[in-house]
């Protein structure tokens, strides 16, 4: 959580990320030409075609020149041109980004909400059987790798029961619109979302539970009960809200993990998110696209962190300005 002089440090962080974005893909062995055109032996890779491609991908210019061109273009908001998709990177991203944001955003909210509520209920009933069951379930489920959980769910619900869709983000060309489209999208979203939530709810739950146990020992809880607040109000409005603080701070870090987790889940459900796009871009060594994806992922995480910091100030009045 970037706390001191927030904005300046964010700019610095973004610059560091930009340079890493540029350098890392180029360090990877293999160049786009080979990656995109080499694989298909049927292609007549005539020398002229190769030279024209090199010019089009501006691979001939020295790295530093390319870097400056990249920064200048970025400044103008142009993310460059994807080799493989043969289209501006921004247009390609715009197609895939919403799906990933939908998936990871919803997953984060659900994980947080579910984790907090379960944590509160479990924390309040410390030691009793319900707490023990929830606890061991969270610890056990937390052990599942994303792709493993995803495959199992897909096999069970999709293949065996046939209740859930087998792939994709919506039923193609089913001519749906309005509400039925939304329903269809949600129907396709259920399994990937369920996978991410099942695997990623653990940390939220454990964190809330532990804070809840310590908070219930605080004096203001006794005041609340003395005020005659019903048990649920004490548990949620007083102890719950106080236990929310560490969850908000942890959510930032968890979101970064969530995105990497989503990479595998998207592949299992062939969900058209940034994960599948990144995997394809890596396979085809599509430098501009890889840079674009990394930058967007970085910005997403930074924005989420920034938003969470605002939420934290809202939730905890003791924090007046940037600590």
């Amino acid at each position: 959580m970037l706390r001191d002089r927030p904005f300046a440090t964010y700019v610095l962080a973004v610059f560091v990320i930009l340079s890493l974005n540029f350098i890392l893909p180029r360090l990877m062995p293999g160049d786009p030409l080979l990656a995109i055109y080499g694989e298909e032996a049927l292609l007549a890779m005539s020398p002229e075609l190769k030279e024209e491609l090199v010019r089009r991908f501006s691979l001939d210019r020295p790295l530093s020149a390319q870097f400056l061109a990249y920064l200048a273009a970025l400044f103008r908001g142009d993310l460059g041109h994807s080799y493989y998709f043969n289209a501006p990177v921004s247009r390609v991203l715009l197609g895939f980004l919403p799906w990933t944001l939908l998936l990871t955003g919803l997953a984060l909210c659900l994980c947080a909400a579910l984790g907090v509520v379960l944590g509160i209920e479990s924390g309040a009933r410390r030691g009793r059987p319900q707490d023990a069951v929830l606890l061991s379930a969270a610890l056990f489920l937390g052990g599942f790798p994303d792709f493993f959980a995803g495959t199992l769910l897909l096999l069970f619900f999709g293949v065996t029961l046939g209740v859930a869709p087998l792939a994709g983000a919506l039923t193609p060309y089913a001519g749906k619109a309005g509400l039925s489209l939304v329903l269809d999208v949600l129907h396709h979203l259920t399994l990937p979302l369920l996978t991410l939530v099942v695997v990623r709810v653990g940390p939220f739950y454990l964190l809330t539970r532990n804070t809840m146990v310590t908070t219930l020992g605080e004096a203001f809880i006794l005041t609340a009960r003395a005020k005659g607040c019903p048990d649920r109000t004490v548990r949620y409005r007083h102890a719950g809200r106080h236990s929310l603080l560490p969850v908000v701070t942890a959510a930032g870090l968890q979101y970064a993990h969530l995105i990497t987790g989503a990479l595998f889940v998207e592949m299992v459900f062939s969900y058209p998110g940034m994960g599948t796009l990144l995997y394809r871009a890596l396979l085809t060594r599509d430098y501009p696209l890889i840079q674009g994806i990394l930058l967007t992922a970085a910005l997403a995480v930074l924005t989420v962190n920034f938003l969470l910091e605002l939420v934290y100030v809202k939730v905890d009045p003791r924090v007046v300005r940037a600590r």
Partner: protein
């Protein structure tokens, strides 16, 4: 969020939970209805989904990309399961003296936007391709195109070129002059008009993210009215394709070999593909001891290709043809099979080369014979491509023959790069196209791509390869190609391991077939547009 309404948090979550479940069930049954929209819709599943906008210049340079495009655009000549058939050209003729082909065009062909198709479009196409670098096939072979009248066109070749019919006439899509006139960057030209062709289907929609395509039938197609009203391509992972077939969500798809038996029992039609793909053990013949042909022959004897097929492919494949072409390929020459599995011969050759066997491995002047075998974890993304399983088996076979092998797993593109830069001993790779025109041999023996053996040290081989291109007479060409395979087998610059068998399954609405020498230049996918209009 002035005050966190956590009093109702519990209730709020309970409500969203039930809402999600209800929606789950509701949409579930809805999806069921949508799938089987009657015979009108034909759906094909594809694990990758997105192959680019289906225009001749915008589709990605891969087989499936060409397939998506070929439903919309026609070629002068086309192929069915047996050979060449008329398409835009009713008949054609090769003028030996002028080294030119004359095509008489059909008169009743219209573009999807209703405009008449004439010879001018063909001439425009040839000129346009010369200027705009058509990536899918080499168009430089045609020097000039003339249209004496509206319905005949003459294409003059630079030199006698045997593969012309297959790689040009039956591959190059004819584009409408009135659309493409003045289009400078063809690969960026992706609005609806770019998809106007003369093919059996019209373009309706292409969604890059979802990896889906939607075509509708072209009622006045000269080759007959397509049997299905709509043709859809959807993205479904290979692992769940069998389930999609069983749940009637798709009509046709490529399926993994292991599940073929069950599907057949369940009433699906299974078609077995031509062995168009070859898995190869790339050998770095620029570095001793691999530069010595005898050593390479010793290696060839040490690899049990039949065992590879039986275990790693569970029998779904053919052992590699020593001359690169698969045993069931029309041009295959059985004499090229010089390497039966026989570790004893390997030992014999190695001792002949001065290696002495101490304990488990051969040694020469104190150093153990040790080679590094590169393999890529997820293979080349094609079913049956060589992965760790094959690498482990080859290693154990070579170790049994006395050669120490270290395995090294690399990411696919990294492996390709190291092979390209000769930074390897042995590597597992492979490519398709050997089911198409024998011209592929030139590309994978002399070509510069990392898939090619890049072996030009055998003068005889180089000479044969050049002659086969200009041998216009099929009989003569067949003899040359046979000889090429024998010389290649003797030189053995790269060891063909096996040819995986690919299976497609469909529900019988359209009886798909594998095209003779692959679709166009050699794409081994049984989605030939003719199947939809028969």
């Amino acid at each position: 969020m002035r005050r966190f309404r956590c009093v109702s948090a519990g209730r709020f979550l309970f409500v969203t939970g039930t809402l999600l479940l209800a929606l789950f069930a509701l949409a579930g049954c809805q999806a069921r209805k949508g799938a089987d929209g009657g015979g009108a819709v034909y759906t094909v599943a594809d694990p990758t989904g997105d192959w680019g906008f289906p225009s001749p210049f915008a589709h990605y340079p891969r087989g499936p990309g060409y397939i998506r495009m070929h439903f919309l655009f026609d070629t002068l000549v086309w192929k069915d399961e047996k050979g060449f058939v008329p398409a835009l050209a009713e008949s054609w003729q090769y003028l030996k003296d002028e080294n030119a082909y004359v095509f008489r065009l059909r008169k009743d062909v219209t573009w999807h936007d209703g405009r008449k198709f004439t010879a001018r479009d063909v001439v425009f196409t040839v000129d346009y391709l010369q200027k705009n670098r058509y990536q899918w096939t080499d168009v430089s072979i045609v020097t000039r195109a003339e249209a004496p009248d509206d319905y005949t066109v003459k294409l003059v070749l630079a030199r006698p070129h045997a593969p012309f019919m297959n790689n040009f006439a039956a591959t190059v899509p004819i584009i409408p002059e009135h659309v493409w006139q003045g289009v400078t960057q063809p690969e960026q030209f992706t609005d609806k008009r770019a998809a106007i062709g003369t093919g059996p289907f019209k373009f309706v929609d292409y969604n890059k993210e979802q990896g889906t395509y939607l075509y509708e039938a072209n009622p006045n197609y000269y080759g007959g009215r397509p049997k299905v009203a709509q043709l859809r391509f959807v993205k479904i992972n290979a692992e769940v394709v069998p389930a999609a077939l069983r749940q009637k969500q798709v009509n046709a798809a490529q399926v993994p070999p292991e599940v073929v038996g069950d599907l057949e029992k369940e009433g699906f039609t299974v078609i077995k593909g031509a062995h168009d793909w070859v898995a190869k053990l790339m050998i770095n013949h620029t570095r001793p001891p691999l530069d010595n042909p005898d050593f390479r022959r010793a290696l060839a004897h040490a690899v049990d290709r039949q065992a590879l097929v039986d275990t790693c492919l569970r029998g779904h494949g053919l052992p590699g043809g020593a001359g690169l072409l698969a045993p069931d390929n029309p041009w295959y020459n059985p004499q090229a099979e010089l390497y039966p599995y026989d570790p004893a011969t390997t030992a014999e050759i190695l001792t002949g080369l001065g290696y002495v066997k101490k304990g488990q491995y051969f040694e020469k002047d104190g150093r153990v014979l040790e080679l590094e075998l590169l393999v890529s974890g997820e293979g080349v993304g094609v079913p049956g491509s060589p992965r760790e399983r094959e690498a482990e088996m080859i290693r154990s076979q070579l170790e049994k023959a006395g050669i120490k092998v270290n395995l090294r797993g690399l990411e696919a593109k990294t492996l390709d790069q190291r092979v390209g830069e000769w930074k390897f001993d042995l590597a597992l790779s492979g490519h398709g196209g050997i089911g198409g025109d024998p011209e592929i041999l030139n590309r994978v023996i002399l070509g510069q791509s990392f898939l090619s053996a890049r072996y030009d040290r055998s003068g005889e081989l180089n000479e044969l390869l050049k002659r086969q291109l200009s041998a216009m007479d099929p009989g003569e060409r067949k003899g040359i190609v046979a000889r090429i395979q024998e010389v290649y087998a003797r030189e053995m610059p790269a060891l063909p391991l096996y040819h995986p068998t690919w299976y497609w399954t469909h529900d019988g609405k359209v009886n798909l077939f594998y095209t003779y020498q692959g679709v166009g230049t050699g794409v081994p996918i049984p989605l030939n547009k003719l199947a939809f209009v028969r």
